[in-house]
Amino acid sequence: MSFSVTEPAKSTKWIAGILVVGYAIITLIPLLWIIATGFKSPTDSIAYPPVVVFEPTLEGYVNLFTDRTRATEQMLEEAGPPETWYEEIVRARGTVISGPSRYGERFLNSVIIGFGSTALCMILGTMAAYAFSRFKVPLKDDLLFFILSTRMMPPIAVAIPIFLMFRNLGLNDTHLGMILLYTAVNLSLSVWLLKGFIDEIPIEYEEAALIDGYTRFQAFYKVVLPQAATGIASTAIFCLIFAWNEYAFAVLLTSGTAQTAPPFIPTIIGTSGKDWPAVAAGATIFLVPVMVFTILLRKHLLRGITFGAVRK
């Protein structure tokens, strides 16, 4: 191995490694605690001192997906023995399942609105980014800054007129309304990121295609789009995560049909007080996909969070 003055000493590396790993473990504890709490029984979840080793149960998950009512012994006898494993868990608490909870619907809403807005955002964003990257658009810098500045507004500040506007258009508490809103919110990110990715594709490829007789449109979708595929994919994941996590608009503009999971999860309560294992189970199902996406995104993370201002 050649000697380099800038290569840190072995001992330095060890100390740095230990400190960083230490921080990573501390920072992971709240997340691991959420996942663990989801598998605890209600008693274990509020035990003092907090229990680390416990008997895992799916009670939290069952409670998350069902509504339950208290049942008298007579009712339980009439109902006969429990038929499924989840009924067995519910019966052990002296309750019966009265129906599915709303978590499933709320989660599905998150999926519909998240993917719907991401798809729309990518279609519009790719087109605008391509135009900004390749053509002389009048007032280009002003338009780009305008697109970015829409992100500076506190969501609550624009929520008042959006609320009024949506009410007039009948878009309040609808999937379409939320998809349009999230698309608009994410467009600034997608245009800025995608412009960066498209800027990196050499213009010569398109010139060659145009000379070969392609039209601009053909050059766009046969040459540029495949080249920008990785960039488009990572931008899409970013848009999806932002729409997935959004709370302020969701809590103000949706209540019933189109409510997403973030405003719903904190409202989960059990038959007696807050049902923390069910809340944790709901959070786990909601958060773990994002962690997986984060791992997929790791190479483009920096770019995504800084609107392409910092590239590696």
Binding site: K13, V20, L28, P50, F135, K136, L143, E207, W276
Partner: protein, 315 residues
Amino acid sequence: MSFSPIDRAAAKTPNGVARRIRGLSDRTIAWIFVAPTIFLLLAVNIFPLIWTIRLSFTNFRVNRPNNDVEWVGLQNYQRILTDPDIWQTMQATAHFLIWTIILQVLIGFTLAFLINKKFKGNDMWTTIIVFPMMLSPAVVGNFWTFLYQPQIGLFNYVVAFFTGVDPASFSMIGDVNLAPWAIIIADTWMWTPFVMLICLAGLRSIPDSIYEAAECDRASKWRQFWTITIPMALPFLMLAILFRGIENFKMFDLVVQLTGGGPGNTTTLTSIDLKREAFEKWRTGYSSAYAVILFVTVFGLASIYVKALNKVKER
């Protein structure tokens, strides 16, 4: 691949000819491509903003649509700027902003500095550290209330374990003195990785050759840190502060789930206060003026800051 000069010239055919050859001119295509985006942003961002400004001069209330809407001039603005409660809210926001930025910059930069020592597996650990930042603040904030529970909460247990105080004796979100710190801790936990990532990019952008030259001149490591590392990473650090500043000025989801603005008004940040005025008290005109003031503040502070940032970059 290589092209002859003739091919290049052909690619740059004037628009008029190109239109006949390829159908639409570049300019038309550019507009077709940009228009939908601009239209949607105008409809969902700019139109509401203009509406907000208009409403801010009226006494309109959403919950009383039949009342006469009167033009009240600057009265809303005057009432807001002279309201002591608003100044308390601004102070709470400033406290939150300043401390989260200080803590996140210190911890974030230190982490980036350590990760830049290139120990084995640093990529993997960086990704793990980034997790909290990518998650839903509302869902995570809600769960932090569980960690902060007196007696049974994990946070209280850990503090009790290390300091010996009774874990039931303090409530992070129920105590007027502790609640502002409860939101700072949760926000720092969540957003330190953001500062870390940007700092890491800054540190990695410094070429090795500068350190090699400094080493030849026998500059101590300490001196190298202050005269090379810090100045060269400073623009990145300032960019991180800008992003965090804007984001935390808008802060709503995490804090509203954690403390709901309480106890009293101790953690009522401006966004939370605005939400109460607009969607609980339904004082639409008044809260529109409030929103305009906030927007002007963010925009003003951000522009001043960006000017300073550009000066640092030029040096």
